[in-house]
């Protein structure tokens, strides 16, 4: 009885206010989609950092037949030079770990990385791959020290800092994340105002009913709950829409577009997306519920 009464009141309210309700739902959808995208970009940065920072940060490429730097003078690195470098690297205090990667190993990794481009793999032989020392620093910021120490050593082709390479990408993602959050923030304001207005209109259009309810002694709970739930239902529908968009976005943008295009890193998986769904749903309900609540407090007097 209670539930049935309240449900029918919600239905009446939402239908009576259909255009406003749709506007609320769409605004909430966009707000939460933006928030979700911002969050997932953040997660993507984490995933990339985990992936890359765990790996070697500085790569010291050794001279090979294809090396173009003047330091090599067209000659391959000699075994003595390589052993010397290896020993020195192990003795360098800033260095935590050193791995040697042979041409063969580099080629294997290359084949795995570019397995989607068989033409490229076919045209490259193991011999063309550079040998390298992959160096993990105790503190990644100390790249410059290691770089300047080994840059001009005989047999060294180039020193490459992976972190430097990745920084622009992280910066780009950071900007994307900020933009998404700013959008979400602006839309949040719009959504709050819109919900507040919708509930006010709803309260006004039902003032006759609420007036009688107050008169016959209906409790505040009874008078206010339909309005509150009306807001919450609109918020929930909007949040479901946002979840849908986030899922589609992850599937289309990440899986269909980025993954085949940019193979050098890995991407957020479904677990990150699934984890955002309850947060988005809850935010939608809370956002609209609270906005409704405060509006009701102001416009439905006891």
């Amino acid at each position: 009885m209670r539930a049935q009464f309240i449900l029918s009141e919600i239905g009446i309210g939402l239908r009576r206010n259909l255009t406003m309700t749709v506007a609320v739902i769409l605004t909430v959808t966009i707000t939460l989609t933006m928030a979700g995208v911002g969050w997932l970009v953040h997660k993507q940065v984490d995933v990339m950092k985990d992936y890359w920072y765990d790996k070697v940060e500085v790569t010291i490429f050794l001279c090979g037949t294809n090396s173009s730097s003047g330091n090599c003078a067209g000659k391959e690195v000699t075994a003595e030079q390589r052993d010397q470098l290896n020993a020195d690297l192990h003795a360098t205090p800033q260095v935590e770990q050193v791995f040697y990667e042979s041409k063969r190993e580099a080629y294997e990794r290359f084949k795995v990385q570019f397995k989607d481009s068989p033409d490229l793999v076919r045209n490259v032989s193991a011999d063309a791959m550079p040998e390298s020392f992959r160096v993990k620093l105790k503190n990644p910021e100390q790249f410059q020290v290691v770089a300047s120490a080994y840059q001009d050593r005989p047999g060294v082709d180039a020193v490459q800092d992976l972190k430097k390479l990745l920084d622009p990408i992280f910066k780009l993602l950071g900007v994307g994340q900020k933009v998404a959050y700013i959008f979400a923030g602006v839309m949040l304001v719009a959504a709050t105002i819109l919900i507040s207005n919708t509930i006010r209109v709803a309260a006004f259009s039902r003032r006759r009913e609420t007036g009688i309810m107050r008169l016959v002694g209906a409790s505040n709970l009874y008078i206010q709950t339909p309005f509150l739930l009306e807001g919450a239902v609109a918020g929930l529908v909007g949040a479901v829409g946002a979840c849908g968009l986030v899922v589609i976005g992850k599937w289309y943008v990440v899986d269909q577009q980025l993954r085949p295009l940019l193979t050098f890193t890995n991407y957020i998986g479904w677990s990150e997306v699934v984890a955002t769904i309850p947060v988005l749903l809850l935010s939608g309900v809370l956002l609209c519920g609270l906005a409704s609540f405060f509006t009701i407090r102001r416009h439905l007097r006891v």
Binding site: M1, M213, V216, G217, Y222, V302
Partner: protein
């Protein structure tokens, strides 16, 4: 049942208080007319009983409760013990007669079975049996007021407040409504009715409390509308 002790009420927008030191004691089962010209404080008097307004000074007791000590969340319980009828009926135009009366019970959480039982009973009592399915705009003014009375009485309140219930009705229809209020009063319900209708007050010969400029200027058992009438 109702006791006002030195009650004053001032509104911030007005220099003269709407009620000024009013002392009134109404026993259980009484029928009281509240008379006086417009702006004499009748409506404020009635609103105080519902705690729609709080007095600036003095105490209001209703049904054994001191309203100044009644916390806000208990106001609904107070209002459930008071039925209200107004000059403008205040029916919901998109609900049938039955639904209008049932609404008053639904919103205080009465079970459906009770509603199905008591609504036809009260419609019968007010003389609207057979019109339960009508919409308010299909009824005459007198019939609409009967619906309003049914809604006010369906929860069997201890007190019935009527604010000029015959103000929009012709004299013969008004007599019908008064007979109905009288019948409700005979069930033991206290009735407080604000009115301008001299003929009704004179014919009923019940207690009359006259307000003028916010003060009680006359309190007469078996009184009439005006002095010397």
């Amino acid at each position: 049942m109702i006791r006002l002790e030195k009650v004053s009420k001032s509104y911030p927008t007005s220099t003269r208080p709407a009620l000024d030191g009013v002392d009134v004691d109404i026993e259980k089962g009484e029928f009281v007319f509240l008379v006086g010209s417009s702006g004499s404080g009748k409506s404020t008097f009635l609103r105080l009983l519902l705690k729609e307004e709080v007095p600036t000074a003095g105490r209001v007791h209703v049904a054994g409760k001191d309203l100044s000590r009644l916390s806000n969340w208990k106001i609904p319980a107070l209002r459930r013990s008071i039925g209200c009828v107004f000059q403008d009926f205040r029916l919901l135009p998109n609900k049938t007669v039955h639904q209008n009366v049932a609404f008053a019970l639904e919103v205080i959480g009465k079970p459906q079975a009770t509603i199905e039982k008591v609504v036809p009973e009260v419609l019968d009592l007010v003389g609207l049996d057979g019109k339960a399915g009508r919409m308010p705009d299909e009824l005459s003014g007198g019939e609409q007021q009967r619906v309003a009375v049914a809604r006010a009485f369906v929860n069997r309140p201890m007190i019935l407040i009527a604010d000029e219930p015959t103000g929009n009705l012709d004299p013969s229809t008004s007599i019908g409504i008064m007979k109905l209020l009288d019948r409700i009063n005979r069930t033991g319900t206290t009735v407080v009715m604000a009115t301008h209708d001299a003929a009704i007050v004179d014919s009923m010969r019940r207690r009359v409390v006259e307000l003028s400029q916010g003060k009680v200027v006359r309190d007469q058992t078996r009184g009439v509308y005006g002095y010397g009438a």
